[in-house]
């Protein structure tokens, strides 16, 4: 039932603490919520004085693997999905997170931290649908 061979609670917790620290820095210094889909989406609807901090944050995210590589080799990053599936999934993630006003970071981390009812509902929905989607693909359709 449990997959103990891949169970990594300590690195997950440590990574979580870093993620929380990143979100804390952004709200405490910039007064902004660390919601990735909202930050990126805002760049597609640029407003004066509201662009540069978004670009800086996104650059930080994109540069993280470069810094990580200076310290250690990158961890395993295994993408099994083929290109058609990736493109379909990407479009769904893009439309869905903007329509639903947030993703794992904005609703999941920041929203739950603020005890936001909207974010709690959103997180329960996308996690629940994520569970169902994987169940359908792996156990009903029997793909991988």
């Amino acid at each position: 039932m449990f997959d103990m061979s891949h169970f990594t609670p300590l690195s997950a917790l440590l990574g979580g603490l870093l993620i929380g620290t990143g979100a804390a820095l952004l709200i405490l210094f910039n007064g902004r919520i660390a919601g990735i889909s909202g930050i990126v989406g805002g760049l597609l609807r640029p407003m004066a004085g509201d662009v540069t901090w978004r670009v800086a944050f996104v650059l930080g995210l994109v540069m993280a693997p470069l810094l990580y590589r200076l310290i250690a080799p990158l961890p395993e990053l295994q993408i099994d999905a083929g290109y058609p599936l990736l493109i379909g999934a990407g479009i769904l993630v893009g439309v869905g997170t903007r329509y639903g006003s947030g993703c794992t970071s904005g609703h999941g981390v920041c929203g739950l931290s603020r005890l936001s009812p909207r974010s709690t509902v959103a997180t329960v929905v996308f996690m629940g649908v994520g569970f169902i989607t994987v169940f359908v693909i792996r156990h009903l359709l029997g793909v991988n």
Binding site: F2, D3, H6, F7, T8, S11, L13, L14, G15, G16, L18, I19, G20, G22, A23, A24, L25, L26, I27, L28, F29, N30, G31, S37, T52, A56, G60, L61, V62, A64, P65, E76, Q78, L85, L86, A89, G90, L92, V93, G94, V95, G96, R98, S101, T104, S105, H107, V109, S113, R114, P117, R118, T123, F126, G128, V129, T133, V134, I137, R138
Partner: protein, 151 residues
């Protein structure tokens, strides 16, 4: 200074995604596969992230300006509507199909993985599609999304 702190926040956030395993789509799908060989690790990511972030939001609630003197933008929307639920459903399907959400997508792109770049392009196309649909709905005045409303 504000740009530096935003960059630093993104950098630390991204390092956290890498350390936690969130940037490994195979691991994310292992977490979402509760009926299979379930790997519950990623629940610990949430615990760690929320433990730190919750304190900072408590602090920010007592202030009107950030440490750099910038206005604090916390969402004020309260209503749970169809957009929130349907949007989150679409996101959940996409997340379950590939195991990639927006933050890890950008980190995967930064790792130089072609599939990461392709996913980000598709995600941006999806976000662009949303903007286009919004503009058609309200051609005169683009309505700000609830999450972006500020107090």
């Amino acid at each position: 200074m504000a740009l530096f702190s935003a960059w630093m926040a993104g950098l630390i956030f991204g390092l956290g995604l890498l350390v936690s395993g969130m940037t490994n789509p195979a691991k994310v799908l292992g977490f979402l596969d509760v009926a299979g060989a379930w790997d519950p690790s990623l629940a610990f990511v949430m615990v760690g992230a929320i433990a730190v972030a919750a304190v900072s939001f408590q602090v920010s609630r007592t202030r009107t300006r950030s440490l750099l003197g910038l206005p604090i933008n916390l969402p004020t929307a309260r209503h749970i509507d169809r957009r929130l639920v349907v949007g989150s459903m679409l996101f959940g399907i996409g997340w379950g199909l590939a195991g990639i959400c927006p933050g890890p997508a950008l980190v995967l792109m930064g790792s130089g993985i072609l599939k990461g770049v392709v996913f980000v392009m598709a995600m941006l196309a999806g976000m662009g599609l949303f903007e286009r649909l919004e503009r058609q709905r309200r051609p005169e005045s683009p309505v700000p999304i609830p999450e972006n409303k500020t107090r």
